[in-house]
Amino acid sequence: MQSKGVEILLVEDNANDAELTLRALKQRNLANQVFVCRDGAEALDFFSDGASPVPKVVLLDLKLPKVDGLEVLRRLKNDARTKAIPVVVLTSSREEPDIERAYALGANSYIVKPVDFEAFARAVSDVGLYWLLLNHPPQ
């Protein structure tokens, strides 16, 4: 579960979505240091291991097996070690309550996955570019 130099932690239970996400990142050469978790529990395990590297951004789906995305978000933002890590919610839900709760818990961004593949690919690669290249995290 340890991979050196993880830049993006993708928490996504849907293998298809994960594949499409990775492909979009790959096209921008951003997929080299992506780590994928298949449910919320795995994501929490990733951070509970003190030796794990700190990713530059977490792409978090909301509807996840075991521990759902909002719970993962809550724990990350309540933990002093992880609360500075940018969390981008990447979900199919455009329901207002989800959006409100995510921001209330401290999400840094909320992106609704477009159904249209081109739009989806553009959204994912824009997010990757922004958080990996433009954003300047605390050292």
Binding site: D17, T91, S92, S93, R94, V115, F117, F120
Partner: protein, 585 residues
């Protein structure tokens, strides 16, 4: 507000005041009448005493006797030639007898004074044509400021002495008219001091009050012998009475104010008493009406409180009269209302719970739709795109076309899911109602639509008439206008000069807004299908869209308590009308 509690005491007060006024005025009238009749009796009595006084005057008897005195007869028959001393003695005897200061005269028939005694001289005059049998009184005579009365008798001559002319003469006495002190005291005692005694005659010659000459009382007094009122300095009441056997007349008068004084005293005594009765009666009526209406006020207040939703109201029910029954009935009713209200509330709570359950299910359903349907759709779309992009070389043109069809339909299905979710969300969000400037909002939306239609063939004019303001949810109303304008813009595509008109008209106090276009229109037979979800009257090839826009319009308008309908014909354009109930509130 009319209130028994106030009107009843007012009514009683008015009644008491009326009774008091009637009682006082009737009493006043009766007392005055009685006082007047007492005064009249006294006036008549004093009159009759005065008449008696003057009638029984011994003067006449004395003069009659003097006229028969032999010395006087002889002196007069001799024409004053003989027996002067004897005649003078006879006269003096009378003067001494009566100790009066009257003047006695003996005159011949021509009026010449033959002999006289007494202190004053009234000149040469015969006062009356004297009777032969007895003396007569003369009218009153005025001399300076005094009145005099006279009495005279004739002494006839005899045949024997006949000298051609009439022999004999006249015996007469003239005296000042006055009351002696004793008489005056007597009369004053009789009259009580408030009466005036007048003496005169019916002809209206000078009258006297026995002290000085006064003007005669008016003819009404002199002639009627009944009580009369007249003004002399003040209003007076008087009765006159003739003195029989003389030309004289007496009158007594009393000031009217003395007559009405008892009546006024009655008023002064009775008015405070009447006022006291009115005040006590008013207080009693007020107290009584309060006692009577207080339970009614209690019931009214409780009923009003119930009307505003406080169902715990009960009224005290301790009385066993009609009001007590009313209170009991009210409490029973309140109990019933309260019970059925609680029952209803429980039912409502139950239904609400059930509805909330349904709503939660609906919410999780739409959540699933948005999440679970989108993911496979994205996979279908994504992988078919990947096929096209990464494996293009291995695909023949037909395979590429088929992948294109998949691509198109997944996009369309994505759109359908989005619209469906938007539509279902409409039913669940709360309205935030406020005043909405429809004209400004329409202008805003129209500008957006114009920008979106920038690349179309042909011109598009959106005309906005003045629109009355509305009350509603601004965001939702914006969506209504937006959907209607986008609809109109869509169905006028292909027209060389498209026109959309937004206006309003009044219909029975309600404002009807409308959006009218000159586009493709629709078959009026299917007008009712326009507003159904996913209902379309045109093929997707002709005009794109999912068929949710007008359904959204209808739901928003309905949630505002309004109505939406459309008129149109194929190729004749369409007009969409809607009303908002909130606009009137």
């Amino acid at each position: 507000m009319r209130s028994i509690q106030r009107t009843f005491p007012l009514f009683v007060t008015a009644l008491l005041v009326a009774v008091a006024i009637v009682q006082l005025s009737v009493g006043y009238g009766e007392v005055r009448q009685a006082s007047r009749s007492v005064a009249d009796t006294r006036l008549r009595f004093v009159d009759s005493v005065l008449v008696e006084l003057f009638q029984s005057s011994p003067q006449r008897a004395r003069i009659t006797g003097l006229a028969k005195d032999s010395a006087v007869v002889a002196f007069l028959r001799s024409g004053g030639q003989r027996g002067r001393e004897q005649a003078l003695a006879a006269l003096r005897r009378i003067t001494l007898d009566t100790s009066s200061n009257a003047r006695l005269e003996l005159r011949d028939f021509s009026g010449r004074l033959l002999l006289s005694t007494g202190r004053f001289d009234l000149g040469d005059s015969v006062l009356v044509s004297p009777g032969t049998d007895s003396a007569r009184f003369s009218p009153l005579m005025r001399h300076d400021t005094l009145l005099f009365s006279g009495v005279a008798a004739a002494v006839l001559g005899t045949e024997a002495s006949g000298s051609g002319g009439q022999s004999g003469g006249i015996v007469q006495q003239v005296g000042r008219l006055q009351l002696n002190d004793r008489t005056r005291r007597f009369l004053t005692g009789l009259s009580g001091g408030d009466m005036a005694f007048l003496f005169g005659n019916a002809a209206g010659d000078p009258w006297t009050d026995f002290a000085s000459i006064v003007s005669a009382p008016p003819a009404s007094v002199r002639n009627s012998h009944t009580p009369s009122r007249y003004e002399r300095g003040e209003t007076k009441r008087a009765i006159a009475m003739a003195v029989p056997g003389t030309p004289w007349m007496v009158a007594t008068e009393v000031p009217s104010r003395l007559i009405v004084a008892p009546a006024q005293a009655y008023l002064l005594n009775m008015a405070p008493l009447a006022a006291l009765i009115v005040i006590l009666g008013t207080l009693a009526a007020w107290w009584g009406s309060r006692r009577l209406t207080a339970p009614l006020v209690g019931v009214t207040k409780a009923a009003e409180a119930m009307a505003t939703g406080d169902l715990t109201q009960r009224v005290p029910a301790g009385r066993d009269d009609e009001l007590g029954k009313l209170a009991n009935s009210f409490n029973t009713m309140a109990e019933q209302v309260s019970r059925s209200h609680h029952h209803l509330e429980a039912q409502v709570a139950q239904r609400t719970k059930a509805l909330e359950g349904t709503n939660a299910e609906l919410e999780s359903f739409s959540y699933s739709v948005s999440h679970d349907l989108r993911a496979p759709l994205r996979a279908i779309h994504g992988f078919s795109r990947i096929l096209l992009e990464d494996h293009n070389a291995k695909l023949d043109p037909e395979a590429q076309r088929l992948l294109g069809v998949i691509d198109q339909n997944t996009r369309r299905m994505g759109q359908l899911i989005d619209d469906l979710l938007a539509f279902s969300r409409l039913g669940r969000t709360d309205l935030s109602t406020g005043p909405v400037d429809m004209k400004e909002l329409t202008r805003l939306v129209a500008d957006e639509v114009q920008r979106g239609e920038a690349g179309r063939d042909g011109s598009l004019e959106i005309r906005i008439d003045p629109l009355p303001p509305a009350r509603g949810d601004r965001g939702l109303l914006r969506q209504v206008i937006s959907n209607l304008l986008l609809n109109a813009a869509k169905f006028t595509r292909g027209r060389p000069s498209a026109t959309i008109e937004v206006g309003s008209q009044a219909d029975g106090g309600q404002t009807v807004y409308y959006v009218k276009d000159n586009g493709a229109g629709f078959d009026a037979r299917y007008a009712d299908k326009l507003f159904g979800v996913f209902q379309r009257l045109h093929s997707t090839e002709q005009f794109d869209g999912t068929g949710v826009g007008l359904a959204i319009v209808k739901r928003i308008v309905q949630r505002h308590g309004g109505r939406v309908w459309a008129e149109g014909a194929v190729n004749q354009g369409a007009t969409f009308y809607f009303t908002l109930a909130g606009e009137e509130r």
